[in-house]
Amino acid sequence: MTDWLATIAVILGVVLCLLSAVGVVRMPDVYMRLQVASKASSLGIALLMLGVALHFGELSVTIRALLVLIFLFLTAPVSAHVIGRAAYIARTPLAVGTTPDDLDGAYDAETGRLSGIDDRPAQAAEPPARADDSGIIGS
């Protein structure tokens, strides 16, 4: 029974990995590609590691498979965020038809800090609603 479960986990994991690679080729812009590359392959590796743990059935192997998972689940979102942020600051164009762009004008060009949505240049005439709340807004 365990062998069947391990086989199914390996098959599903490999299919998800393949789908994420197909998505990286097919998706129209960087941001969508990032989404596919980080999420689908994370779940694919998770299933593969589940297959490994089930196949060996030893405590030491299970702990190491879990370790891979923890590393991956901690690092994949962080690196996707950092790459997406760098792509946006480098003004990589969005796919045609992406509306609305909520970050438009929200990044300070020199410091790279994200200023509050309330005081982007287009709305500068109105006083910012929460200018004193934190150091982030109006940096």
Partner: protein
Amino acid sequence: MMGRIEGVPDTIIELAMVALAVAIVLAFLRLVRGPSLMDRVTSLELIATLVAGTVAVYAVGADDPALIDVAIVLALVAFLGAVAFARYAELRERS
């Protein structure tokens, strides 16, 4: 209905390796075509993740639990590379 099997069948392991190889080739296609630097960083990270998956499948096929450590190291190194690349690109863009 389901017969007994000993471990994961060899056919499944071979098909999984082929599928992962195809996935790596597809990610490499995006690495070559770009168009932006961040596309390339994305596909490099995906390739590292897929290689970690290949190592895991191989560990199951070869019945060798020591190979899982390789997957751990690959997952960590891929993260460091992606963050360093993105940081570099962001700083270059700002200055």
